[in-house]
Amino acid sequence: MKYGDKIIRVEGVIVEVHDGAIGIDLKGRLGYLEVPLRMVISDYPFEVGQTVAWNMSFIEQEGPEVDEKYVSRLNIYTQKRRDIAAKKKDKEED
């Protein structure tokens, strides 16, 4: 990475709380992050609206190559979701 050592403080707001994960909106609508609980260090029970902060750097593209393994995995996944959606629609129409 070319800029990997440029660490910046990022703040966010908890917008979703699950038993095993929380969803965070980056302040300023700069993105959304969902992380498992164990990746969060906390002192209190989680609640929607609490603010969080962490350090990160910008995300850098590693190169122009495409990893076919991930593409095939993704295709299987999206196809499956499409099938499920289609099935649901059929059911509703019935």
Binding site: D19, G20, P36, L37, V40, D43, E68, K69
Partner: protein
């Protein structure tokens, strides 16, 4: 940041560098100096150059500045009026330290066991508003020590003990193996002539058993079908049952060889259960075959694909339902296994003896298991090996430390819901073949008194709560040494190091095991984290999405045992390099091999798996 007299003493052999501007005529005191722990980073970034600097221990004897200098100036002879000469050989830099007088009889002269986080001086505990800043890449060293020195020392101690006390077998556990050649479907679940038949339509029973489960599909994956797409693998479980009235951890356990249960699933929208610990993909590319917690090549996998209600994949009842529904099928097989005639089993029983060795070094294995909620949970102490019936989730029990016998661990007392990440989580099968428990149990120089499971809760306050209970429990065990292991990485490292602190501050030598390397570096540390084993196996030290790749293996157990023995014998464990370096581990293994004369087999990593060329370029 200035340092205290105590820190200055610890760092007597490190360069003396001023923390703040100091006027001419200042008599140097510890408060004038910067903490040497942060020097490597300053040197790396070009802010500091300690070449030619005097040592801290040389300038704290009333030395006076002859010049006004700025902060971060190394003390050199030209800016002070006087300094002490270096004392003796043992004051040499740490890399060369050879505590020869401590172990004069030992053949390999020095104990060469580098440590994770040896330079971190953070104390968590009861502080408030602590801002912690640590260099990235901290804490990544693997460690061990030659066994010869401690052995010699221990031997001497035993000779002095009143009399050689006899070994005592507390209890035994036997496994009766039944080979399964084929898995087929049939009108009822039964085992005949080494063929396992699973009842047609048993899926419906499994679905009915759990409200949240919408559907369940069974795939029998034989070795020729390993290149099959699978949803995320949530768990890998041995199929076993107790014989007669025997309870978990003793008596006879019947177990099927060559076949395993595998739990996988998604929610109704197709989202993976335990989305984050996701290892979906082709099984042959995504599993590190042969790890204690994984399948071995050649085994047939009975894989359930459970679909639970939409949106429940991240809620606690979701993963639990998937596991319980799968257990309906496993339980049917267990019942069939109970009925098989004894003559069909292999003639030889595999026997595990829980041996206490009075007079030897008493040790305890502490396994930190996840307890943050949802899939970060484990069912403890089921009635049947790796079952769910009768078991209690450690989250419901407040994650407090719970004692188990080593044989209970090997008999499947943990049904792991397993969380993230795939490469470092411990599957149910891992406990069935737990390398550290086996190594400590079979070591004739150790008296393993038991295993303690302690959950890792979410909130820091709860983490410190369970940690203090653990410290107290270890204190009353009166052990000579302790192992602490954890799985995965993340906030569980907070309690992991607090456990080590709570044990270490009671004067008990402790060795920690965790995946750290590059990605899972410890976020905190304390002075007791001086003896650590890194479970990393991946080439680049990352979570490589390959199931079980970075879990505790026999080679790690061997290193940990050697290190704890060295610590208990009063040997010094050497500090690691600042960045993760796999050579540390290789060197230590070589030292152990040399000292014990035994060859240690090391396991392969993800490089041995089929994988696309591009992925290889990207990651390794």
């Amino acid at each position: 940041m200035s340092i205290t007299a105590e820190t200055a003493k610890q760092h007597a052999n490190d360069p003396a560098v001023l923390c703040c501007r100091a006027e001419e005529g200042t008599v140097l005191a510890p408060s004038n100096f910067e903490d040497p722990a942060i020097f490597p980073d300053l040197i790396d970034s070009g802010l500091l150059n300690t070449d030619g600097a005097l040592k801290l221990g040389q300038v704290l004897n009333g030395s006076k500045l002859t010049k006004t200098v700025d902060s971060l100036t190394p003390i050199t002879p030209d800016i002070i009026d006087k300094y002490d000469e270096l004392e003796g050989e043992e004051e040499a830099p740490a890399e060369e330290a050879a505590p020869a007088e401590e172990a004069p009889v030992a053949a390999p002269a020095a104990t060469l066991a580098p440590v994770v986080g040896g330079t971190i001086k953070l104390h968590i505990g009861e502080g408030k508003n602590i801002d912690i800043e640590l260099p990235a890449g901290l804490g990544g060293g693997a460690v061990a020590a030659p066994a010869a020195a401690p052995v010699a020392a221990a031997g001497a101690a035993e000779a002095a003990a009143p009399a050689e006390q006899e070994e005592k077998v507390v209890r035994t556990l036997s496994r009766r193996h039944l080979r399964i050649d084929k898995v087929e479907r049939g009108p009822e679940t039964k085992i005949e002539n080494h063929v396992l038949y699973i009842e047609d339509g048993i899926e419906d029973k499994a679905v009915e058993s759990e409200k949240l489960v919408q559907s369940l599909k069974i795939d029998v994956i034989t070795p020729d079908k390993y290149h099959t797409y699978s949803e995320t693998i949530m768990d890998i479980q041995p199929i076993a049952t107790k014989e007669g009235e025997a309870e978990l951890g003793e008596g006879v356990t019947r177990v099927l060889d060559g076949v395993l249960m595998v739990v996988s699933g998604t929610d109704a929208n197709g989202v993976q259960i335990g989305e984050f610990g996701s290892s979906e993909g082709y099984i042959d590319e995504n599993m590190m075959w042969g790890r204690p917690g994984a399948a071995d090549k050649g085994e047939t996998l009975i894989k359930t694909e459970v679909v639970i209600d939409a949106g429940k994949n991240m809620e606690r009842p979701g993963p639990i339902a998937a596991h319980k529904a799968t257990d309906v099928i496993t339980d049917a097989i267990r019942k069939a296994l109970k009925k098989v005639d004894e003559s069909e089993f292999e003639a030889d029983l595999e026997e595990f003896k829980q041996v206490r060795r009075p007079g030897k070094k008493k040790v305890v294995v502490i396994k930190e298991i996840m307890g943050q909620g949802a899939m970060h949970d484990n069912f403890l102490f089921p009635v049947e090996p790796v079952g769910t019936l009768g078991a209690k989730p450690n989250v419901d029990m407040g994650n407090v430390p719970i004692a188990a016998s080593p044989l209970e661990v090997l008999d499947g007392c943990i049904h792991a819901l397993t969380c993230i990440g795939p490469a470092s989580k411990e599957m149910s099968r891992h406990y069935w073949r737990e390398p550290l428990v086996l190594e400590a149990l079979h070591d004739p120089e150790l008296d393993l008194c038991g295993v303690i499971f302690v959950g890792s809760p979410q909130a820091n306050s709860e983490k410190f709560y369970v940690s203090r209970r653990l410290g107290q429990m270890v204190e009353l065990l009166d052990v000579d040494g302790a192992f602490v292991t954890t799985e995965g990485f993340g906030n569980n490292h907070v309690d992991f190091v607090t456990h080590i602190e709570n044990i270490g501050k009671r004067g008990i030598p402790v060795v920690g095991f965790s995946f750290c390397a590059a990605q899972g570096a410890l976020v905190v540390g304390n002075k007791y984290c001086n003896a650590m084993i890194d479970n990393n196996k991946s080439m680049s030290g990352i979570e490589n999405e390959v199931l079980e790749c970075n879990t505790l293996c026999p080679e790690d157990a061997v290193r940990g045992v050697a290190m704890l023995k060295a610590e208990m014998a009063g040997e010094e464990v050497k500090a690691p390099e600042r960045k993760y370096n796999v050579n540390v581990k290789t060197n230590n293994l070589e030292l152990i091999e040399k000292a014990t004369g035994k060859k240690i087999e090391t396991v392969e990593n993800e490089q041995s798996l089929p994988m696309s060329e591009k992925r290889r370029e990207k990651y390794d």
